[in-house]
Amino acid sequence: MKNGNKKLDSRMTEVYLSYNNIVSSLGFDSETVVSNIHNEISGLQLIDDKEMFFKSFCSSIINQKELNNSFTSIAVEGNFTRLEMMMITSLNRVIQDTKIPLTKNVGLIISTTKGNIDILDKNSKFLEERAYLGSLGKVIKDFFKFKNDAIVVSNACVSGVLAVTIAKRYITQGIYDNVFVVSGDIVTEFILSGFNSFQALSSEPCKPYSKNRTGINIGEVAASVLVTKNDTNLAKEAVAILGDGSCNDANHISGPSRTGEGLVRSVKLAQKEANISFDNIDYISAHGTGTPFNDEMEAIAINRLGLQNVPINSLKGYFGHTLGASGLLETIVGMHSLYNNTLYSSLGFEEIGVSQPINVITKTITKKLNIFLKTASGFGGSNMAVIFKKINMTSK
């Protein structure tokens, strides 16, 4: 009986994504970034820096001078890594916007795949301890004086969106009322050389779902959001989390399932919890890395679910793959997409290059939007699906 009640309670607690920020090559706040996306401006560029990588690569990199300037205005002293500066800059804006005091009821979740991995380089001026993800959590916690220790999640490329559902669970369990989530990863030789060894790295802007795709781009962002159960003082673009699902492919550690099994199961779980029909989904913000295996797997999963007519995009053509931050970054853009009633173009898309039909958004258009599905997949066979619904019906 006790369990039954608890289950009922957790279903009744609505959880929202509210104030948010993106620090990226397309701007240092969500509105600027989304307005650049609206104008189909990509943050990707060809980078030829032999210090960083032995061959030229295409990436979206945050301008160091701009980052320094933004950071100097909030931090007076202390030695911070590049990733810490990005995360602090991003999270600071969200904390300022929400005006929530950081009491014992406020949690902090950090999602990243590699954190301060650049410290392992022998030329780094930081001590090796700083490369441990727990140290990153402590730096962020101490900077803002959170009362609780950071919960660091590192679950490959689904980390960013997984972090949001972890926040939701902490809130429905009654442990926290508000949770700040900050996600980030940086472009490093460590990552570039790894993806290059998979022969997956493209030297051109990526072309998700296209016939002539050339592989992935690695990019960097820091993204932050407030996850809350308080329905007053929400951001205008706030959304409610209707349901989530996360299922492993149980198939391969680096390649996605050929049948899209884990993704199909994830979406079904999310739909079951959301208690909506698939007809209610207005838009899919997909993973779309621009590798043949990933894109094909998604197309198969989407067709198995009967979602092939729902408008879909990949935002990798704007930022590249931002690893542990990508899920949160793309969720935030999705929130703005709903609020603006606008479907953003899947930049880089040319001629369809997957075996099953999907409805790729080729041109930014306005359309009445209410509910979107975010999906992500990653190494280790992980998949994630979350369904979000907009709160503010009187959008612009």
Partner: protein, 205 residues
């Protein structure tokens, strides 16, 4: 706060000893980690050749899961609705160092996908999911120290939200020659309460 869930069994690998529910199942002193884990694999009749391709962290995790799941009679030939919630201190630092070494010298540059793929801590969960057909939720958390409270809260949230039938929880840590694994299975029926006290008690067993 306790829950109405239970710990059905637990396994630990530390100090060159593997134990199940507090009883030793294998021990081999005076060996370095990789040598020890390989000797244990052979002695425990694991029969999973993929083991040899794995990095140290995955070897540690999969062997602990093997001992636990064998005791639980988990059938590897059908789907198992078991979520996995792991944690550690050092993420995949051991393999990260290997990959870093392969790119440190421009005249001796040898990054390899077989190593790079293991530079994520959750790959060990992927390995367990493949072996035991776990099409279920998995999360990898990083904490400076073992956090019974977090594992308790998170496993309870997955079970009470109806996301899974069982949760495989634990701590799998590897950093150089320092290693430690502690896994336990949380179920809806049983006798030993899934409580912070019990999680800590078995961790210290």
């Amino acid at each position: 706060m306790n829950s109405n869930y239970y710990i059905s069994s637990f396994c630990s690998i530390k100090n060159n000893t593997i134990s199940l529910n507090g009883s030793m199942v294998y021990s081999n002193e005076n060996m370095e980690f990789l040598e020890f884990i390989k000797a244990a694999y052979k002695s425990l009749d694991t029969n999973y050749p993929k083991f040899f391709k794995m990095d140290g962290l995955s070897k540690l995790a999969i062997l602990a899961a093997h001992v636990l799941f064998k005791n639980e009679n988990i059938n590897q030939d059908k789907d198992n609705d078991i979520a996995v919630v792991f944690s550690n201190k050092s993420s995949s630092i051991d393999t990260d160092r290997k990959h870093q070494k392969s790119i440190e010298n421009k005249d001796d540059y040898y990054p390899s996908p077989a190593i790079f793929v293991y530079t994520l801590p959750n790959i060990c969960i992927g390995e367990i999911s493949i072996k035991y057909k776990l099409f279920s939720e998995n999360s990898f958390f990083i904490f400076e120290n073992f956090s019974a409270q977090h594992l308790l809260d998170y496993a309870n949230s997955l079970l009470s939200a109806g996301k899974t039938e069982k949760v495989l929880c634990g701590w799998v840590e590897l950093d150089g020659n320092q290693y430690e694994a502690y896994l336990y299975l949380v179920t809806k029926i049983g006798t030993i309460l899934h409580s912070k006290e019990n999680i800590i008690k078995f961790y210290n067993t």
